[in-house]
């Protein structure tokens, strides 16, 4: 699925990623943990092609296809989805309109038929109900005036509607109370499957109680400095990042 090798990137001339190597096979969930400033969000932006994040070396591919050569929307059409740490507000564009535009743009890019309005609305109602989102909220401008928790749920709704193959969750637990965390986690877990993979970026272990990872990686100083099973997350929670921050 995702294969990243010796990936290096700068932001404003500062070398943030110093050679990240990572393989996430289909069917697996990998967690990236690390101290603030380790480059966790940078990794998610480099993989999704945000401007201002300059790749200075290495490769990143999805099922053998070079991701770094593609525009952000082309990567999305290939199935890469980033759940933003801080989802954007889009004034004047109702959530339903935004999601339908995105869904059909992806379908067009993949040479598939567009989804008609009745089918789309039926799907949106179903997914909104699963995430306990009031359907009327989807008629409002996307994320405008929404609480932090509502915005995160809206990210998961988009994820559920777009049905991506490779999911990156950037600090999805931040700003969520425990009830919202459960709903969001259930939404994410519902998308687990043999044809999908996920990269869960988090500072705290808490999220991983709900979204159980197959592998945990520690990112410090722009490199993966340790990898292990789920027990590594528990160790980090107990002992903190100090020893890894020093090693970096």
């Amino acid at each position: 699925m995702l294969s990243v090798s010796d990936l290096r990137a700068t932001v404003d001339g500062n070398q943030i990623l110093q050679g990240v190597t990572l393989d996430v096979p289909a069917g697996q969930v990998h967690a990236i943990m690390g101290p603030n400033g380790a480059g966790k969000s940078t990794l998610s932006y480099v993989l999704t092609g945000r401007s201002g994040y300059e790749v200075t070396g290495g490769t990143a591919s999805l099922d053998g296809e070079d991701l770094l050569a593609l525009a952000p929307d082309e990567r999305a059409a290939k199935g890469v989805f980033l759940s933003f740490q801080y989802p954007l507000e889009i004034p004047g564009v109702p959530a339903l309109t935004f999601i339908r535009t995105a869904l059909n743009a992806q379908r067009r890019a993949r040479g598939e038929a567009e989804m008609g309005a009745p089918e789309f609305l039926k799907l949106a109602r179903l997914k909104a109900a699963e995430l306990k989102i009031d359907f009327d909220m989807l008629k409002r401008s996307l994320n405008v005036g929404f609480s932090g928790g509502e915005k995160k749920r809206m990210e998961i709704l988009q994820m559920a509607m777009l049905s991506p193959r490779f999911l990156i969750l950037d600090e999805t637990d931040s700003g969520l109370d425990i009830d919202a965390l459960k709903i969001v986690s259930e939404g994410v877990n519902a998308l687990r499957g043999p044809d999908r993979a996920m990269l869960v970026i988090t500072h705290y272990q808490r999220l991983l109680d709900y979204i159980k990872p197959d592998r945990v990686h520690v990112l410090a100083g722009g490199r993966i400095v340790a990898s292990g099973g789920p027990e590594l997350a528990l160790e980090l929670e107990r002992e903190g990042y100090d020893k890894y921050a020093r090693a970096a």
């Binding site: 929307d73 989805f81 933003f84 889009i90 004047g92 995105a102 401008s141 777009l162």
Partner: protein
């Protein structure tokens, strides 16, 4: 000197220019070096239908300055009138119309400017609003046309005047609205949208004078400029002594989509009364790059994402149009001009 008179008398020296404070960004004197010949009469029978014709019960045409007349709406009457102001050729002309709506009367005035050529055109509207008027203006001037529209609105206590200007600009174009606001719970809404490309210019100038207490004014103008286009917004609200409890707000927000495009904005509040609530907001900037990335990350190609975000930006003004048919037409006009 009155601009219409200057045009009719072919007195170039009487055209306003950059030394006139109110015209410094819309210089006519510096632009027009030789006085154009008076425009020839147009055969209105040969004109294609206007954009608002299907929505209106009747259509009034001013062609190269000829036509117009008077629109009167009596108490208890509700009318939807299309006013077409048509310019053709390279001549100069001036025309106008008088509008009066009595208390208890309602008028939807669907006004369109339709130009072909390098004309110099002036339109004057004298509007006496004692009832309710919604004026929607769709200005489609020629890229080579120079036009000025000046509306003088006298609002009566308890009356309501709402306006939305939609323009694609011209070689030089000014849409001016002056409103005498008596307070007395009269309500005023003055909105505008300018979408400019190429070398087009549009100037949306408003002057609202509050003369009595308990008046409300709500203004929202949004613009999008690209290429080498230039947008001008001048909004002035004067609150005279004694016009207490005036509630006035004015917003102007513009997107500049290229390095060589320009927006000049001058929002002004002049307040001589106590106990007023007045606010203005003015922003000029580029499209939000973070929102653009967000949309692209979801799979929306860049050009489509730009069009969607830009359309949403001006959509907030279009949504305020009350006449449903005109609102749909305005929406389609915006989408057409912003399509990738």
């Amino acid at each position: 000197m009155n601009l219409a008179t200057a045009i009719r008398a072919r007195k170039l020296e009487d055209l306003p220019g950059k030394r006139d404070e109110a015209w410094r960004w819309t210089d006519l004197r510096g632009l027009i070096r030789t006085a154009p010949e008076p425009s020839t009469a147009l055969d209105t029978a040969g004109l294609p239908a206007g954009p608002f014709d299907p929505l209106a019960e009747e259509t009034l045409v001013i062609a190269n300055g000829v036509g117009g007349g008077r629109i009167s709406v009596a108490a208890g009457e509700t009318r939807v009138v299309a006013l077409r102001i048509v310019s053709r050729g390279a001549g100069a002309h001036a025309g106008g119309v008088t509008v009066s709506v009595a208390a208890g009367g309602r008028l939807t005035l669907l006004e369109s400017y339709d130009g072909e050529g390098s004309y110099l055109a002036h339109a004057a509207l004298a509007i006496d609003c004692g009832g309710a008027i919604e004026r929607i203006v769709l200005a489609a001037d020629d890229a080579e046309g120079v036009s000025v529209s000046q509306a003088e609105v006298v609002l009566q206590p308890g009356a309501r005047f709402a306006q939305t200007l939609l323009t694609g600009g011209g070689r030089r174009q000014r849409l001016e609205t002056a409103v005498r606001h008596p307070g007395g719970h009269a309500e005023l809404r003055l909105d505008g949208v300018y979408l400019l490309d190429g070398k087009r210019h549009a100037d949306l100038t408003t002057v609202v004078t509050h003369t009595g207490f308990d008046g409300a004014t709500d203004q929202l103008t949004k613009g999008v400029v690209r290429d080498q286009a230039r947008g001008v917004f001048q909004g002035k609200i004067v609150v005279k002594a004694g016009a207490d409890r005036t509630d006035a707000r004015m917003g102007h927000h513009a997107l500049i989509l290229s390095d060589r495009a320009e927006v000049d904005a001058k929002p002004e509040l002049e307040i001589y009364a106590d106990d007023v609530s007045c606010a203005h907001g003015n922003t000029v900037g580029a499209l939000d790059q973070e929102a653009l990335f967000y949309a692209r990350q979801r799979g929306i190609p860049e050009a489509d994402a730009r069009a969607m975000l830009t359309e949403a930006f001006v959509g907030q003004v279009v949504d305020r149009i009350e006449h449903e048919g005109a609102r749909e037409l305005a929406r389609a006009w915006v989408a057409g001009r912003l399509a990738p």
